[in-house]
Amino acid sequence: MFMEATMLMTHILTDGTSSLTRAHDPYPYFNVPQWKEPSADPIVDALKAAGADAARLHANAADAARMVLNLLPELPNPTVMVEDYEITLEWYKDKSHVAVVALDGQSISWAVMAGRANPLKGKELFDKELPTDAYAAISAATAD
């Protein structure tokens, strides 16, 4: 990065004197991400990827999924998929530590493996809050 930034300045030597040309406008360079960015909205991406299946979702499903994401800001972005009239969010650490949450627009259900031989699951109506049992299960599966 330093090397590239310094190359924005061109130093020209002419007949024993030196002059500094005007620097190139760095805006176009720095405006283009130099790394692969995480998805800005993984739910939108999942809905796009689902194509026609996304149209079969309950109208509230995407909002509910986004609410759950916002209620768990400490976790990394999950894998988001649209499956069987539900949006699923998955946090995968390893095969014995994995949390899957499904939102169908009315209810929230979860299937979690919170350590060896410790399956946890449940389902409740979703009312803009994460059920205590779901939060405990997800936390147990994703804790460092």
């Binding site: 069987d84 390893d94 095969k95 499904a102 979690v112």
Partner: protein
């Protein structure tokens, strides 16, 4: 030739394709039933590593999605039967083929059972695709 019934002590093979193979083993999706409501598997008694790999390549060739064979999960019949509701059945041909059926209707209950199967399974993971 396999016995008519699957014994509790038998080791069963579920082939794992594409992204369903993770660094630490088979992802729970590899154990989920298909649209027919069944999870296909093979009985591995009497088969050595190369024979199981050859069988996996045959299965891979028959898949419409072109996903690569990444290895296989090995699970005992007793580990399947201890999970509530699931049943193991012989489903030949081909020889040695079986299924896990009687999955619950609700998807997340299936996910939970598949997570338990993945948790119990040992995994043979190819460092490359054969």
């Amino acid at each position: 030739m396999h016995p008519a019934d699957i014994a509790d002590s038998e080791r069963l093979v579920i082939f794992v394709f594409g992204d369903d193979m993770k660094e630490d083993g088979a992802h729970w999706r590899a154990f989920m039933p298909g649209a027919d409501g069944e999870r296909s598997l093979y009985r591995s008694e009497g088969l050595d590593f190369c024979e199981v790999a050859a069988l996996g390549k045959d299965v891979a060739r028959q898949r419409p999605d072109n996903k690569r064979l990444r290895g296989w999960a090995v699970i005992s019949a007793s580990d399947v039967r201890k999970l509530p509701g699931l049943q193991l059945k012989v489903s030949e041909p081909p020889d040695g083929h079986g299924i896990i059926d009687s999955w619950p209707n609700e998807r997340m209950n299936k996910v939970s059972l598949a997570q338990s199967l993945a948790d119990d399974a040992a995994t043979i993971r190819f460092p490359f695709s054969p």
